[in-house]
Structures are given as structure tokens and as C-alpha cells.
């Protein structure tokens, strides 16, 4: 990166145009909730094992910073009975744990997707209003 670009960024940062701490915290909080939604959607139509889920989520830019984050989420989703798992043999090595939605998970995901659509639609509307001003 050009030194002038770095200097401009630092100037913006320290002159108050970017509140880096707030933005970073907001991104982290937003990512936490969205990640669970994304994981549930990834296994909505097919059973996947952990690494396959991670590969799917890699396609969503900026969603997964630390790929290991997925595994506590999968454990918690199982504990909440939204997801179930089964071990299946793999030709490439040890058995793999495949995850799929439970009926409760399907119903919960449907509701989450509806809330997500309403929220993002609403925020987009607000952003549209802002840009119109």
C-alpha cells in the first residue's frame, strides 16, 4: 500500500471520520449472529460434514475470519436440538460427522430467515432514504 494511502487512512482514523473500535465491535457482533444463520442455511438442503460447511461459508466474503469458530457453533446447535449428526465412513480416512437439520431446526430456520429478510429489507429501505436525502 502506498504511504500516502496509509497516511490518509490514519488521518481519517484519528480525525474522527472512522470510529475503528466501534466499527470493529459492530462487525464482530453482526458476524456472530449471521454465522449461525449461514451455517443452518448451508445444511438446509443437504447433509454436510464440518470441513464442507467451512468451504461453503468461505464463499461469503468476510463472514468467517477464524474457521474454527464453526465447531463450537455446531456443538451448540446440536445441544439446542436444531441440528443432528451422524458418523459415516469416509474412503479418505476416518469416519466423518455429517450434520443435518432436525425438524425443529427446519422450523426455526424458516423463522430466522423471515426475520432476516424483514430486517435487511428494512435496513435497505433506511439506507435508501438516507441516500435520497
Amino acid at each position: 500500500m502506498h504511504p500516502l494511502a496509509i497516511a490518509s487512512y490514519l488521518l481519517l482514523l484519528y480525525s474522527g471520520f472512522v470510529n475503528e473500535g466501534f466499527a470493529e465491535n459492530w462487525t464482530t457482533q453482526a458476524r456472530k449472529g449471521v454465522l449461525e444463520l449461514a451455517v443452518l442455511n448451508a445444511i438446509r438442503d443437504e447433509r454436510l460434514y464440518g470441513y464442507e460447511i467451512v468451504k461453503r461459508l468461505r464463499r461469503v466474503r468476510g463472514l468467517v475470519i477464524s474457521e474454527g469458530t464453526i465447531y463450537p457453533i455446531m456443538s451448540r446447535l446440536q445441544r439446542e436440538r436444531l441440528v443432528e449428526s451422524s458418523l459415516e465412513p469416509s474412503p479418505e480416512g476416518p469416519a466423518r460427522k455429517y450434520y443435518s437439520l432436525t425438524p425443529v431446526g427446519e422450523a426455526t430456520l424458516e423463522r430466522m430467515n423471515a426475520i432476516w429478510a424483514a430486517m435487511t429489507g428494512g435496513v435497505e429501505e433506511l439506507r435508501g432514504d438516507d441516500s435520497a436525502d
Partner: protein
């Protein structure tokens, strides 16, 4: 099962130990389940590598880097709930550790070594309890408690090891003077702490205790490394195979001179 070099396997096991610790601290996930998931991920990602050559530590580290530091996983419930439950007992324990440590340090360094060392040991026990409380709610606080304990103990050992020769040299001069004055029956007796053999005994005791602790910890680490990591305080350091061997070697090396100091 993928083939790993010894160094890579060591890296992987240390990483999985850390995953287990963080997951267990969260409380609302199954730590074994999370560890199994991460292990499967690593094996799946490395399964396409050349089966003839074992995976090197450098290649493994690339995968582990993408998995990220377990303590910073954003979905980790421990981070989300940490602020909600600050354990009062851990705060109290911190004060207790500092108090016990300071009093123990003073006693161990000067007139009363045995109760001083006992107080330092009590500080260690309190630190462990506090860390267990911290594991459930705030590992940062537990880490602070344990770090305080280790610092005070290290200070006590350092002061004893440095003070012993200095006092011994100084008191030798006193003894010399005393010996010269043996003919004079009115010469004052040498107080206990000015006697070189007293300091020799204290130094030997501290060194022997340290050596025994290192050896026991190292031997525990050979067979039950996660348990040994919990003993040493996983918030501070994760024992590797090399550090376990190092602990045993240092322990055995230190125990010989310390026994010699104690017994001769």
C-alpha cells in the same frame, strides 16, 4: 489418518489442548465434540496432500492459522458471556493470593522459612481454585491470579537464591571474627539467619522443592499432558513434548545439587 512429522503432531496436539480448554471454559458446548470437529477438519483439509510424505509443521500451521486462535473465536460463548458473570470469589482470591504471597515472601526470605513456604504454597492452592472459578466465567481474571502467584513465588526463589550466597559470605566473615574471638568467652552468639548452614539448608529446600515440582510435572506431562497443562495453568503456557522433556531434565539436574546441599 494423515501422517504428520513429530513436530507437526506436537503442534496439532497443543492446538487441540487449547481448543479443549477454551471449549470447556465456555460451558455450553461439548469440548470433546468441538475437538473432534477441529481434528476432522484438519485431517480433511490435509487429506489431499501427497500420502508418501508426512505433513510438516509449516504446512499444518497454515491450516491452524485459518482455523484461528480458539480464545478469539467470535462464536465462542465464553467471550459473549464473560462480562455477564464476574466471579466475586476470584476477586477475593486475587487479594488472598497477593496477601499470602507477600507475607510468605517476607517470612521465607527472612526469619521463618517453613511457614513462609507454606503460605506461598497456600497461595498456589488459592490461585488454582480461583483459576477454576475463572474457567467458568472469566479466564482473564484466573490468569491474573495465577500470574500473580507465579511472580511472587519466582521472587521468593530468586531472593533466596541470591540472598543465600551473599549472607553466607557476610556471615563467614562474622564467623571468622567469632572464631578469632573464641578465646573470648564473652563473644556474642551468631543468630540463626547469619549462619551459612541455615542458608544452605533453606536454599537446598527451595531448590529441592522446585526440582521435585518440575520432575513431577514433566512426568505427568508424558502421560497426561492436558492434566499437566491444567496443573501449570493453561492460561499461561501450553506444555509441548519438548518442554515436558526439558522439565524432567531440569528437575533431575537440579535435584542432585539440592539434595547434596540438604544432606551434607
Amino acid at each position: 489418518m494423515i501422517a504428520l512429522t513429530d513436530r507437526a503432531r506436537d503442534h496439532l496436539e497443543r492446538y487441540l489442548d487449547e481448543v479443549r480448554r477454551v471449549a470447556a471454559a465456555g460451558g455450553d458446548v461439548d469440548a470433546d465434540d468441538v475437538v473432534a470437529g477441529v481434528r476432522e477438519h484438519v485431517e480433511a483439509e490435509l487429506a489431499d496432500e501427497d500420502p508418501g510424505a508426512p505433513i510438516t509443521a509449516e504446512r499444518l500451521d497454515q491450516v491452524l492459522e485459518r482455523l484461528g486462535t480458539p480464545g478469539r473465536w467470535e462464536g465462542e460463548p465464553r467471550n459473549a458471556g464473560a462480562e455477564a458473570a464476574q466471579p466475586r470469589e476470584a476477586h477475593t482470591a486475587l487479594i488472598a493470593v497477593i496477601a499470602l504471597g507477600l507475607v510468605g515472601l517476607l517470612l521465607a526470605t527472612f526469619e521463618r522459612p517453613v511457614p513462609g513456604i507454606a503460605l506461598l504454597a497456600a497461595g498456589g492452592a488459592v490461585a488454582r481454585v480461583a483459576l477454576m472459578a475463572g474457567d467458568r466465567a472469566s479466564s482473564e481474571l484466573g490468569e491474573l491470579v495465577l500470574r500473580t502467584y507465579w511472580t511472587l513465588t519466582a521472587l521468593a526463589v530468586l531472593v533466596l537464591l541470591l540472598a543465600a550466597p551473599a549472607v553466607a559470605v557476610w556471615s563467614s566473615a562474622q564467623i571468622g571474627g567469632f572464631l578469632d574471638g573464641l578465646a573470648n568467652p564473652s563473644a556474642p552468639p551468631i543468630p540463626g539467619t547469619r549462619d551459612p548452614s541455615y542458608w544452605r539448608w533453606i536454599t537446598g529446600l527451595v531448590a529441592a522443592s522446585t526440582a521435585a515440582w518440575w520432575t513431577v510435572l514433566g512426568l505427568a506431562g508424558v502421560k497426561w499432558r492436558p492434566f499437566a497443562n491444567r496443573l501449570v495453568g493453561p492460561a499461561l503456557v501450553q506444555l509441548s513434548a519438548a518442554s515436558v522433556r526439558g522439565l524432567i531434565a531440569c528437575g533431575v539436574f537440579l535435584i542432585l545439587p539440592s539434595l547434596w546441599m540438604l544432606l551434607t
